[in-house]
Symmetry: C2
Subunit: 417 residues, 2 copies
């Protein structure tokens, strides 16, 4: 029953995707603009639905942080509408011919950028993901099947209703944006196996959700997620710069995946840089956990355990390790990195070059804060997530990463000999 309902949505999404694939950018942008207008026009309806979710959430005893993610206000709705307008203003990647060669037999072989088709998004409490994902998918000519968290179910229904209305208004298929219309958890497991209808799944949320999706999906998944990010202060670092960058990477927004979690310091500079750095970190409320050599320099610091090296705190905690050599820093990163963002602070050209080459992560930094790993900061204008896998997309994913390509081959009668 539920399966049939989801398959039916999948089938409709596939049909919608075929129409979206041949739309002009102008038509897609018109729909995005209409969506933005309608969100603003119907904000009271959104807020009313959100209040039902918020009330249920409070009664269920959701944490303050979760309730905050769930909450929509007039300002937040205005931000969502603004986001849609910004996506409309971005260049459309679809249709670009990335290269075209003429083969010796006269055949022209080109690679053309096309939509992925149907994208499934599985996410948690944040209702702004509903609008952001719908906007990015529409801009790239993809149909989208959204599965939001049960906490936001009333809000999401109203939001998707408004988006569907905007699609109808401009004459596009309203099934281009669909919401899974149940809070049953089984719906997720059905989606994971819907490879006849879904071309890709993007899970957005906590580690548990992402692991569940990766381990059970037969649909190709783009894994987003965990950032156990390292910073290494080299013997040849500018130590003042090092202090500023580490403070920023740890404290500017500690709850996100590109925040610093472990600091490695070369033993030659550790006695000089650690005391002033520790003082500033502690002033900012950061708890330090150190290796024995760190503790020898900073006696007030708690010991770091093996677990600390592999923990993504997402909090005002920093693990600190003094290393004997650059090589030891690299080995530590090889061992504990989750492949998100890694940085070196050094004035040594050869170390910088080697670090960039040797460290295997989505984003590798020299002398800049890991906090820049973000679609907007990299100049993509929008982001659907940050990939920590290697297939298809790595790091911040913008519009281009929601496309694939096809080969187009133009001949005048060529046959293979």
């Amino acid at each position: 029953m539920l399966r049939e309902q989801l398959w039916e949505q999948g089938k409709k999404a596939r049909q919608a995707a075929r129409e979206l694939a041949v739309l002009s950018s102008a038509d897609k942008n018109k729909a995005l603009e209409a969506m933005a207008v309608n969100l603003l026009k119907k904000q009271q309806q959104i807020i009313a639905a959100n209040e039902i979710d918020m009330k249920a959430g409070r009664e269920k005893g959701l944490s303050k942080a979760l309730l905050d993610r769930l909450l929509l206000t007039e300002n937040r709705i205005a931000d969502m509408a603004q986001g849609l307008k910004e996506v409309a203003a971005l260049p459309d990647p679809v249709g670009e011919i990335m290269e075209m060669v003429t083969r010796p037999n006269g055949l022209q072989v080109g690679r053309q950028r096309v939509p992925l088709g149907v994208v499934g998004i599985i996410y948690e409490a944040r209702p702004n993901v509903t609008v952001d994902a719908a906007g990015l998918c529409l801009k790239t000519g993809n149909a989208v099947l959204l599965r939001g968290g049960s906490e936001a179910f009333q809000t999401n229904q109203v939001l998707v209703g408004i988006l569907e209305g905007a699609l109808r208004e401009v004459g596009l298929p309203e099934t281009a944006v669909q919401l899974v219309k149940t809070t049953e958890r089984e719906a997720v497991d059905i989606m994971l196996k819907m490879h006849q209808y879904l071309d890709v799944l993007i899970p957005r949320g906590g580690a548990g959700l992402i692991r569940h999706v990766v381990e059970n999906a037969t649909v190709p998944v783009i894994e987003t997620g965990t950032g156990n990010c390292h910073g290494y202060i080299d013997a040849a670092a500018d130590l003042e710069q090092a202090v500023d960058i580490v403070i920023n990477a740890k404290c500017q927004r500690p709850g996100v995946c590109n925040a610093l979690e472990t600091l490695l310091v070369h033993r030659e500079v550790a006695p000089t840089v650690l005391p002033p750095l520790a003082q500033k970190l502690q002033e900012a409320g950061v708890e330090l956990r150190g290796c024995p050599a760190t503790q020898a320099i900073l006696p007030q610091v708690k010991p770091a355990t093996e677990e600390d090296w592999s923990t993504e705190y997402l909090d005002l905690i920093l693990a600190v390790k003094v290393v004997d050599s650059y090589r030891e820093a690299i080995e530590h990163i090889h061992r504990y990195s989750t492949g998100h963002s890694e940085m070196i602070i050094t004035e040594d050209y050869n170390k910088a070059r080697d670090f960039l080459q040797r460290v295997d992560a989505a984003a590798v930094y020299v002398n800049a804060s890991t906090r820049f790993t973000d679609g907007n900061q990299f100049g993509f204008g929008a982001e659907i997530g940050i990939s920590t896998q290697k297939l298809h997309a790595r790091g911040p994913m913008g519009l281009r990463e929601l496309t694939t390509y096809k080969f187009i081959i133009l001949g005048n009668g060529q046959i293979r000999g």
Copy 2:
């Protein structure tokens, strides 16, 4: 036990991948050349091992076709060696900086092409895959874990022994190329879940193998495979050209995934083109299965059933359907295409343009045979397989498709505000 053995191989592959990632092209090419030389030098050893596999295969009653795929001769060994030399001569995609922008804050953000890391290949009887895959992975700086079919186990052990020897000779880690050293089927299922060690899995073989891998792997998979390829002869086709192209697409090598399986013909030209085309196809030994309208024109043709429209014959059989319109042809392709290769034959500019845009397949052709969907024919110089999925790579996969990218970010103290 078996799991520990495979995990140990995975760990060694990961270490080898770290060394390979920073090698120069010259070093990788030296290894490829040494591999080619050693294969030729030790061909008697290869042939002796292959004879053991062939004997066991004959005793097990393997089909003639399978035995032919398993067989290695001096010529075939020379071809494998030549293939390695050709891969050595291709440009190395690793290290290329695909784009680099300077952000307003002075941060330079670039996308650099890097190896995937560790590639798992699961394949069947053909021992040349062992050498081809090892060569392509080495060239792109990837370590490879090979799981060949049990029928070729003796041959593969000798081949990989020779490749390891060549790696040692030139001072590279011999664990860059590893063979799973058991014929137990359980080894495949362990590999499918080894996402801590494998960055990607590429299955090469029959539909059953590929389905098993796609449905059970937690490691990201590049699906290769099924080609239910269509050709559509439009009302505005050059009919002589149409006959030549269809004959080529069906007959030039019917057992491969880019061969034509269903022909769609516009009703306006069906009475003119089908009789001469059918005669030539039947002369070439092709069995036709037609819709009622086809049978009305060609009374000798068997009826096509619903099953025929979705069958990849890989044989001298062609399903034929007369369609009332271009639109009906598109709808048939939407419904039955496996997304491999699709072609239109037309002199009508707008139909050609619309077909290229509307048909969702890895390779979309105008007026040329589907048989060109092949890495060599597209000018990549080598091919690890033909992807029929949309993530990461689509269509023929060359060296570039065995790479990913990372963001490299060069700063001079930037922090996020």
